[in-house]
């Protein structure tokens, strides 16, 4: 059962009014323009024990994603494909109102939306990751630990997952005498495309990109759009209790494609240079 609840951070009315007034005149609290991202800092490969990892800092939001590759049974109905499992956990370190425990509906939604963006874009050529179709396939786990909440978890988590995957090194498994053997060799993951997630918050009549915690506390609605290298939309999610107009959705979609491509070029740079 899902029930609506009040915002978890108490933003004082003085600040809410200040934000609404600024945004109505095209400005934001931290001086950004409506289409501007906060400083984005990404470190690759910091968890050496993982097959791939990324530490993303988007403004004050910090997420660490790690990739672990094993073997296992394929998903039902997808016998010829490797299995991809994307999970996320908001750690209790992330904010004062987070309690330890199993993921709540917000966290589950977050993980599923991020997963959708990666899966539907076919970022990984999973058909290349089956060892014995129907029996044994590569199982790719991508786990995210959100360590500090600063707003816009959707994008920060998505960037962490995408970069951890894109820069991972996958062990080469072989079947010898009907058993799975790690040959000790490593390979690059079979990547088709780089999906990029872009999130907007509607505050009053304006849309702002990459909302901060304070902006999220006074937003009326939110929309996340993920595009692939061909400019196709592979995942969309409207969130929060309010509504969006048709114009707003169209405008968000247009900007998401453009910003998506800008970020994609930056990500591609990271995956080739490795740092």
């Amino acid at each position: 059962m899902s029930s609506s609840r009040r915002s978890t951070i108490i933003l004082e009315n003085l600040r809410k009014n200040q934000i609404r007034e600024l945004i109505a005149s095209g400005k934001r609290l931290d001086g950004r323009s409506p289409d501007e991202l906060r400083p984005l800092n990404i470190e690759i490969g910091i968890i050496k024990k993982a097959n791939g990892s990324a530490w993303v800092k988007l403004g004050n939001t910090e997420v660490v994603a790690g990739v672990k590759v094993e073997t296992g049974e394929p998903f039902e109905g997808l016998e010829n494909k490797g299995a991809l499992i994307v999970s996320a956990e908001v750690l209790p370190t992330a904010a004062s109102y987070i309690e330890p425990g199993p993921p709540d509906e917000e966290t589950i939604e977050l993980a599923r939306v991020v997963d959708r963006g990666v899966r539907e874009s076919e970022m990984l050529a999973l058909d290349k990751l089956a060892l014995i179709p129907g029996k044994i396939v590569y199982t790719i786990f991508v786990d995210c630990s959100i360590i500090n909440m600063g707003g816009n978890l959707f994008d920060a988590t998505s960037y962490a997952v995408v970069l951890a995957l894109a820069t991972s090194k996958i062990p080469v498994f072989e079947i010898i005498d009907e058993k799975v053997v790690d040959t000790g060799k490593i390979q690059d993951p079979p990547i088709n495309t780089i999906p990029v997630s872009v999130t907007f918050a509607r505050i009053g009549d304006s849309l702002v990109l990459d909302p901060s915690t304070e902006e999220e506390a006074c937003m009326d609605a939110r929309i996340t759009l993920t595009t692939n290298s061909n400019g196709e939309y592979t995942a969309v999610q409207k969130g929060s209790n309010g509504f969006l107009t048709i114009e707003q959705v169209k405008s968000a979609a247009e900007t998401a494609k453009i910003k998506g491509q800008e970020l994609r070029l930056k990500f591609q740079e990271l995956t080739t240079t490795g740092q």
Binding site: K49, V67, L91
Partner: protein, 244 residues
């Protein structure tokens, strides 16, 4: 467990290139989690662990509060990508036990009677584990507690010693932990000289036990130097001396 292969070569060099009484490299950064009241990131060998403290703060649900002192809650948790094989995110029995012994290691240092009806929550998140993670976690948590401005009698330092190839060595790594003869984590209040955590996993005779304990305490004092300088660096920066 009884060792099966040699882990120290003929020159006294261990699997990671160290000598018997050498500590792994340690780095501590204070105040890394903006939202927390106090926090620290520790890199202890290959361990990468974050400790965050929220408190003193209100207890929810209210009936759990203690009337005469502060509640102390502690959680040690490993991210799924932190170990060699992927770990299920649900809390394991090992994590539950470690959470408890860590809480009991930190409690003697905290002046909980100063904050009745409140709680102090300590979260230790392991991003990468490589032997001695509970000790590294305690060292980071202790720094985070001081960073949060909680009244403390002392910091708590921690380090593990062990038996490898029948020799007592300092700060055992993951391989030595898995394959060696004994593993003894120790937590220690460096100024009050009191032991707040002590565990043994393995087999030691009387002499070995004392030698291992002493080695562990020596390790704790070395870890203390790193904790101290990390806190001084954050709070006092380059002003090492107060100008009178």
């Amino acid at each position: 467990m009884t060792q099966t292969r040699s882990l120290i070569d003929e020159n006294g060099i261990r699997t990671d290139g160290r000598t018997g009484n050498q500590l792994r490299d340690i780095q501590i950064k204070v105040g890394v989690i903006k939202n927390a009241d106090g926090s620290a990131l520790i890199e202890f060998g290959k361990n990468k662990i974050i400790a965050a403290v929220y408190g003193p703060r209100e207890v929810h649900p209210k009936h759990m509060a203690l009337t005469d002192r502060c509640l102390l809650r502690c959680r040690y948790h490993m991210s799924p990508f932190s170990t060699d094989t992927r770990k299920n995110p649900a809390p394991s029995r090992r994590e539950v036990e470690i959470s408890k012994v860590i809480r009991e290691a930190l409690q003697p240092a905290l002046m909980l009677e100063d904050y009745p009806r409140a709680t102090i929550d300590v979260y230790i998140e392991v991003l990468q584990a490589d032997g001695g993670s509970r000790c590294a976690g305690i060292a980071a948590a202790s720094v985070a507690l001081a960073d949060a401005g909680i009244n403390m009698r002392d910091l708590v330092s921690a380090c593990a010693a062990g038996k490898v190839d029948d020799k007592i060595v300092l700060d055992i790594n993951d391989t030595e932990d898995k394959e060696g003869g004994a593993d003894m984590p120790v937590a220690f209040m460096p100024n009050h000289k009191q032991i707040t955590l002590l565990q043994l996993d393995g087999k030691l005779n009387s002499e070995e036990f004392i030698a291992c304990l002493n080695e562990g305490i020596t390790g704790c004092m070395k870890v203390y130097e790193v904790q101290r300088s990390a806190l001084m660096q954050k709070y006092f920066g380059n002003e090492t001396e107060l100008k009178e």
